[in-house]
Symmetry: C2
Subunit: 147 residues, 2 copies
Amino acid sequence: MQPKFETIIDYCRSKNIQLTNQRSLIIRIIANTPNQLTANEILIDLQKVNPKANRMTIHRALEFLIDAGLIHKIAFNHTYKLCAHLYCKHDHHCQILICQKCGNQTEIHNLQITGALLEISRTHNFKLANPVEITGSCAKCQTEEIL
Amino acid sequence: MQPKFETIIDYCRSKNIQLTNQRSLIIRIIANTPNQLTANEILIDLQKVNPKANRMTIHRALEFLIDAGLIHKIAFNHTYKLCAHLYCKHDHHCQILICQKCGNQTEIHNLQITGALLEISRTHNFKLANPVEITGSCAKCQTEEIL
DNA sequence: TGATATAATGTTACAATGTAACATTATATC
DNA sequence: GATATAATGTTACATTGTAACATTATATCA
């Protein structure tokens, strides 16, 4: 389960994350969807409320929300999804399982991977950023392939 | 160090991987470049030899080469790079450190991560595919940021 | 060898994602 | 209320990738 919209608002207030009206609308769209969304899908939803919104509107807001640690950008299929936790920026590492077929994503927190990442971070002097993207086929799509 | 062009040709012959003339030209371009390349950069190089080549030419060849396990597609910055080993398809797992700033990539083989991935693969019934993309800032770019 | 099937490549047009540059509007601060 | 700063609107464009169909090369077999 991902955080509820109200929880996010409270979190932002406590952390002094400046949510304008537009950013609130966008994070609400993302929070109310269990699956990942493309920028364009978010845009279509936003335009129901703000017809003036266009591609730039979305991308600027997304950049802000990513920086604030509220959402993840998934490079593999150009989608955006609410972080399953409200601590993405500083306090934890996560990995995302992405199905190549249906695109669905599952956020996980694997201690072994996190440990190895921190070790790599030291030995390679590499400063970690985004979630780690792990691609493959989910259980559902594997089953469908056989049928 | 990545494999030499001649080594790749030998490998393909031994594995019955059908390298047409065009595919050879493309894999040579990739093999002769130490860094990752975008599809367009490859195209510009290819056009010096085959002026008829266009975007489709490249993408079809890249798809073939990825399926054959010879190159990696990096979703993060839309680039392609020779696999540091010639076994990508079936026999090993690798991770790629990608610098968000300069885009450079380092292929690694971390046993802890591979072990954890195999475990995840079992517990989530998730069939692993591509290399795992790990993004952040490389040592060089971190230094430049301070200066 | 020549007919025929299959694989590869060429060609055109288009869709999707994202950014640059500049104008306008809202918000905060003095 | 004047002014600076942040946010948003607007337009035009760059990049990456794919769909659909035509043509050419390659393999296979009678």
